[in-house]
């Protein structure tokens, strides 16, 4: 991952959209009949998180929306942040999305709803409190051996 400096409000704006979508996902995932709608939202999440994981949050469609429609109306950012933490967190989001889809396909009761709830919580913390849960998980994942050093 190449480190660049980005406007920290970009990922927070993107997390806000994810947060709103995740509310719908939770709602639809709670009923067997409407669960496929939630699964479709999760399919969209997976694609978006994959883009974010591979190319960074600036290349993410929500990042584009932020840059094109929101940023021109705001003052310049007070400080920039490293692009790698939010990019890493996109990978965590991708993992949760895939787990949700797998649970849906395996017909685990409320599995998709639980994954949607996890995304809701993480995106709410990122967007409204500036707390990047995915970034915070880096050391924990490393300590339990999920991530190995290059």
């Amino acid at each position: 991952m190449a480190a660049t400096q980005i406007d920290p409000r970009g990922p927070r704006f993107g997390a806000g959209i994810t947060n709103i979508l995740s509310v719908f996902a939770v709602f639809e995932a709670l009923d067997k009949g409407s669960e496929p709608i939630a699964a479709a939202i999760f399919g969209l999440f997976a694609v978006l998180f994959l883009i974010g994981t591979l190319y960074g949050t600036s290349k993410h469609p929500f990042g584009w929306i932020y840059r094109t429609f929101v940023k021109p109306r705001l003052a310049a950012p007070k400080e920039l942040e490293d692009s790698r933490p939010p990019q890493f967190a996109q990978g965590v989001g991708l993992f949760v999305s895939v787990v949700g889809l797998v649970l849906h396909i395996a017909a685990v009761p409320y599995g998709l709803a639980a994954a949607a709830a996890a995304l809701f919580l993480a995106s709410a913390l990122q967007s409204y409190f500036g707390y990047c849960l995915g970034c915070q998980m880096y050391l924990g994942l490393k300590r339990i051996g999920v991530i190995r050093s290059a």
Partner: protein, 146 residues
């Protein structure tokens, strides 16, 4: 599932997010007193201004652990460097532990930045998890007899 129950579940989630966010806001960046393990900085492989750090030179050293995947590590380093410039009793050291699992385990680091406040002898006086609040740093420095 009934619409009422769904609504209750969603509101519970919102409440959880708000509680977690507020707990984060109020606990992050505060100093916790810890009873003095002694740290030998020479063993940690810290580099400052291109030179390996072999001993402590100031009354107070802020030893900051960072990773590459850390939102507030950069701003924290900036803040502590500024403090070092204005207060000759203070030194800021930073160690990137992205690939230093030994250090992470040894100091039980769960989040970055984690900053240890060391006295001149290398004794850990307190520990700050998350981006330090300005008043935390002021009161930490105030704890030392200068």
């Amino acid at each position: 599932m009934s619409a009422e129950l769904k609504l209750i579940l969603l509101l519970t989630l919102v409440a959880l997010a708000v509680i977690a966010g507020l707990v984060y806001r109020f606990t992050t960046g505060r100093a916790k007193k810890v009873s003095g393990e002694r740290v030998n900085v020479a063993e940690l492989g810290i580099v400052k201004n291109g030179q390996p750090v072999t001993h402590l030179t100031s009354k107070i050293t802020f030893l900051q652990f960072s990773t590459d995947f850390c939102t507030f590590c950069g701003p924290t380093a900036k803040m502590l460097e500024a403090l070092e410039k204005t207060d000759h009793n203070v030194t800021h050291l930073e160690l990137n532990v992205t690939d230093r699992l030994d250090i992470v385990n040894r100091f039980n680091i769960l989040q970055t930045p984690t900053t240890l406040v060391l006295d001149r002898s290398g004794r850990v006086v307190s520990r700050i998890g998350g981006a330090p609040k300005a008043h935390t740093l002021v009161s930490e420095i105030g704890n030392f007899d200068i």
